[in-house]
């Protein structure tokens, strides 16, 4: 493992499998009456959020608290950042307070990379989503969810996603979730197909390790999992698609389309869902939809990442582990 987690593309297969396996151990903690480990006692983690994202922030916070870390939440709104303080000054101020890790969410692609590589601070940096670049813990929790559902909770340990066919549908152009998932799923051996109207696929996608299709119906029968991305209504004002109705008709997942999926296939969504746009209520509320599971898994994955980046050689859970890197 590297010191920081900036991009899903930085993870090797072994790194990723280690995180998923560790997350399974962390998940067991959630089943205990006392959902807390002493692993990061005395360590301070700041959640530095320049963008509103209550769910991601809460997920990290829950993970940090379950590992007994001291948690500082820093929201840029109403802080000195809104008065013109730079990212550099903010980060250095926090580090001066003795922070061991910075979990950063930022609207600018590359901000976490800059924070980790500019010599501004020494703390470990964990990317909690940057612009339209990356959201690596989201990709990890998605892979975790897929492995559990498609391979099995215990059978999955030590395994990757070799040969699984994953379809990602929606606004790929503006999606850090799509980018992170393509990178990580490829590393884990899955076959990824992106489905979107051509306007919402980036120029330059041809070098990505995945297929691109404009036709959802032909892709569904060959999918083990289909991940629906949120599509913001405002996109139609910038001519990415004509109307909400037309988008839903061509790229939305409804009951009829869900019926074309193989029986074992799951439906995923990183949330927040826009019901009636990319996904109907019927699908969102069905048993095949893993949205709520993904949220629970998010906490386990973030515990695993924090433990592996910060925990050093201490065993995470009661039984000893060896060969931590």
């Amino acid at each position: 493992m590297q010191r920081h987690l900036i991009s899903a593309a930085d993870l090797t297969r072994d790194d990723a499998v280690l995180i998923l396996d560790t997350a399974e151990e962390m998940a067991r903690v959630a089943d205990r009456p006392i959902k807390k480990l002493p692993t990061l006692r005395g360590r301070t983690i700041v959640n530095l959020f320049f963008e509103d994202s209550t769910r991601t922030r809460i997920s990290f916070e829950a993970a940090e608290k379950r590992l007994s870390a001291d948690v500082i939440n820093f929201s840029a709104k109403g802080s000195s950042v809104s008065k013109g303080e730079s990212l550099k000054d903010t980060a250095q101020t926090l580090e001066a307070m003795g922070v061991d890790a910075v979990v950063i969410r930022h609207g600018a692609s590359g901000a976490p990379y800059r924070l980790a590589n500019s010599g501004w601070i020494d703390a470990a940096v964990i990317n909690a989503g940057d612009g339209t670049h990356q959201h690596p813990t989201q990709a990890l929790l998605d892979a975790f969810t897929m492995r559990r559902r498609l391979v099995g909770r215990d059978a999955g340990l030590g395994q990757d996603l070799a040969g699984r066919r994953i379809t990602i549908v929606g606004d790929v152009l503006h999606s850090r979730v799509a980018r992170s998932n393509v990178d990580l799923l490829h590393t884990l051996g899955a076959e990824v197909t992106l489905v979107a109207p051509p306007t919402l696929v980036p120029v330059g996608v041809e070098t990505w390790p995945c297929e691109v299709s404009y036709d959802l119906d032909s892709t569904l029968p060959k999918s083990d999992a289909v991940m629906m991305l949120r599509v913001q209504r405002e996109r139609m004002n910038a001519a990415f698609f004509p109307t909400e109705r037309e988008y839903s008709r061509r790229y939305g997942l409804d009951g009829d389309r869900m019926a074309r999926l193989p029986e074992h296939a799951i439906v995923m969504h990183p949330g927040p869902m826009v019901r009636g746009m990319e996904i109907t209520a019927e699908v969102a509320d069905s048993d095949r939809c893993t949205v709520v599971e993904q949220v629970a898994n998010g906490v386990s994955i973030r515990m695993a990442v924090l433990y592996l980046l910060l925990g050093g050689n201490e065993p995470a859970v009661s039984h000893p582990r060896t060969e931590e890197k």
Binding site: A108, S109, S118, G131, Q134, P202, V203, G204, E206
Partner: protein, 428 residues
Amino acid sequence: MSKILIHGAKVLGGEPQDVLIDGETIAEVGRGLSAEGAEVVEADGKVLLPGLVDLHTHLREPGREDSETVLTGTRAAASGGYTAVFAMANTFPVADTAGVVEQVWRLGREHGYCDVRPIGAVTVGLEGRKLAELGAMHESAAGVTVFSDDGKCVDDAVIMRRALEYVKAFGGVVAQHAQEPRLTEGAQMNEGVVSAELGLGGWPAVAEESIIARDVLLAEHVGSRVHICHLSTAGSVEIVRWAKSRGIDVTAEVTPHHLLLTEEMVRSYNPVYKVNPPLRTDRDVLALREALADGTIDIVATDHAPHPHEDKDCEWAAAAMGMVGLETALSVVQETMVDTGLLDWAGVADRMSVKPASIGRATGHGRPVSAGEPANLTLVDTAYRGQVDPAGFASRSRNTPYEGRELPGRVTHTWLRGKATLVDGKLT
């Protein structure tokens, strides 16, 4: 005024000769000239060029003196071998009146490091809506001949047409910053493989090429000349080549950074590589070099764009666009054009002095190195190789993409009308 004998200089890269400066002019060029009564500068095989002329410099004064002033900018120019620079109009206030251009012009004269030829804005406040008083700026003491809204594109086709027509009355030229604004909303870097991966807003080549295509056709239609600023794509080269073959009066410039750097640098998210137009691909770089060699692109212009440190020491999206270039331009051109065999030193003199002076009507600059001509000269140690150290820059700003990079060539002497502005690499 005293005499200076430059001994053993390779004039335009040719055989070593002596050049005698008397007062403001070149008195004699030949072998074995007498040094009597003259201060001798041992050229020792260095290359002597006509003083370089930059058609595209941002001096930032008035308004952004924290990043550059006419004094620091012209010192940087002299340090880089320039004897004339054209100062872009995007100052605060904008150089859209005779008053502002005269102020900039006068500051240049007072400091005396390099002739400053102000560029006038095409439209009031660079807003693209209403023509600025182009005639008044031309008739002012500054004698403006080049007009540009650089930083912004004159995207309204009618305004561009009128500007092209209007400046014909006094032999002016409109220098277009070719960037279709709607296609580049939120643009952060070249649109392609790297932007897709990095999640940065794309600046597609077509946004430049479509404007160039429109403007060469407009120039043909109204019989005017047009100059294209910082051309950056292989497609733009094809359009300009086609336009020239049709006899359209178009000239074009390329920046040193577009001759050397590619979008791959952006992977570092280091805003020192953030520039407008953005760094493009390998294929574009090679096409630009070839076009500069074959004359499709007429000149090298620096687009010297100083910015204070804090505007670059931040996340990519928040950073300012632009790079300083005056003090490294000749080295980059040697690296990319001369050392690659694409251009000889006579070619460099043409692309960096003769042609830019001719496009901008900078009289007294870009002249042959021969008797009777103004002594605007630059002496270059072409055998030198060294790392770029921004700490040594004369510019007030340090936003160079070449820090620590080894580059060839070093300007050791610059003379402006016989007066040394740079001696042994030190400003006078």
